[in-house]
Amino acid sequence: MGDYSIWVLEHAAVEKFPLSVMLYGPQYQGIRKLPYAYALLKGKGHTILIDTGYDHVNYGKALAELYGVTNFHGPAQVLSECGVAPADVTAVFITHAHFDHMGAIDHFPNATFYIQQREIEKWVWALTLGPEYRFLVGAADPADIVKAVELTRHGRMIAINGDREDVLPGIDVHLAADTHTYGSMYVTVRNDGARNSQDTWIFAGDLLYTYDNLTGLDKDNPQFVPIGLAVGSQSNLIFATADMLEAVGGEHRRVIPIHEERLKDMFPSRLTSAGLQVVEITLGADETSKISG
């Protein structure tokens, strides 16, 4: 058994999302469900989230009506499926600064947040370029940035420069510069605590949307296919994908694309009464399953 128990928790979804955004290239080849989710880790005295989801109070109506984002549930309800309350969360890794990944940062009053310094600096730079460059900024809510300012002032938001090992015990972060965003990072969990871990899980943020980014759609002739949305380059996305896969010894299922609907089929899972998937990636010592019983 590993040091951390890990779950992926759905909190909303786009039921009809174009495959061509999840996977660069296949135009007019259909749609998939795009779950919105975050990861919960428990172990070593920590309760950790990887991303927070968005703030429904401010965006929910628009997202639901205009973009088909449905079935939103807040962190209190979603985390309760694993016996956790928002106040229990001690650390949050922000993989990138899009509103749907960090919009709920003020829901975790006892957490310390980790983000890449480059994500902040390059984003601020992009803001200075003018409105015609707004693609580079993404959907930014000033309220999220103000929340981040407040957290930083209180020493609760830590900006990390590049790769860092053992940010928390057995948990490393890696900068994937100029990919989906300027300072996206992925999170590695060495679940046996060993430097050369044989039990590694990687949380890819939006560097991957689906396992098909690791293989392409032709399983007989696999290739890395980047996601269809980057402010950096497709090359950088591909090399980040290769790095992640190498770190888990080529075992695809250990690189977790948080938006992948098929996680529920690859790992033990259950549908909650609210219609949200709880996916159990692995159970640590002294932890009971949140899927069965």
């Binding site: 401010n58 902040i120 000033p142 940035i145």
Partner: protein
């Protein structure tokens, strides 16, 4: 403060909405920039020469936006909106002034708390102002989840 959405719009109100929307969008952009600068100052600390020009431009942009805003005829139905918008201008201006102070001050200086407060007040005023039909707080058209929408709709979250 409770902000209610206005009812059916007459011509002067419509004129205010059409002319005021781009101004509110500009204010949101200036606030986002200012908050971003503040985040940079808080995470890095110390003097940041790279912000000199962007801060000067933000100040200039705020002044011209404020001037255009105050030149608008303000019908009774949107006075409340105008109030929030002008208060946002004031708060953003104060935040920009405080940024200059924070680049020279210690991490525990009260100016940092004051800066944060001004940013939050400006955010609250802009969020209240975004309740008017046709206005929105966030350009969700740039969001990942918006990629599948063929015609960008008008947003009013």
């Amino acid at each position: 403060m409770v902000c209610e959405e206005i009812g059916p719009v007459d011509d002067p109100t419509l004129h205010y909405i059409v002319c005021g929307k781009p101004l509110l969008t500009r204010l949101q952009q200036i606030l986002t920039q200012t908050a971003g600068f503040a985040l940079l100052v808080m995470t890095r600390g110390g003097r940041l020469p790279m912000l000199d020009v962007p801060l000067a431009l933000a100040t200039q942009e705020l002044a011209s936006t404020s001037e255009e805003l105050h030149a608008l005829p303000v019908p009774a139905a949107v006075r409340h909106h105008f109030y929030h918008t002008t208060q946002a201008v004031v708060s953003i201006g104060q935040a920009i002034d405080l940024l200059a102070v924070c680049m020279r001050c210690a991490r525990d200086d009260p100016a940092r708390a004051a800066l944060t407060r001004r940013l939050r007040v400006a955010t609250e005023h802009l969020r209240a102002a975004s309740r008017l039909p046709g206005f929105g707080m966030v350009d969700l058209q740039q969001a990942c989840c918006a990629c599948h929408v063929e015609t960008p709709p008008t947003l009013n979250p």
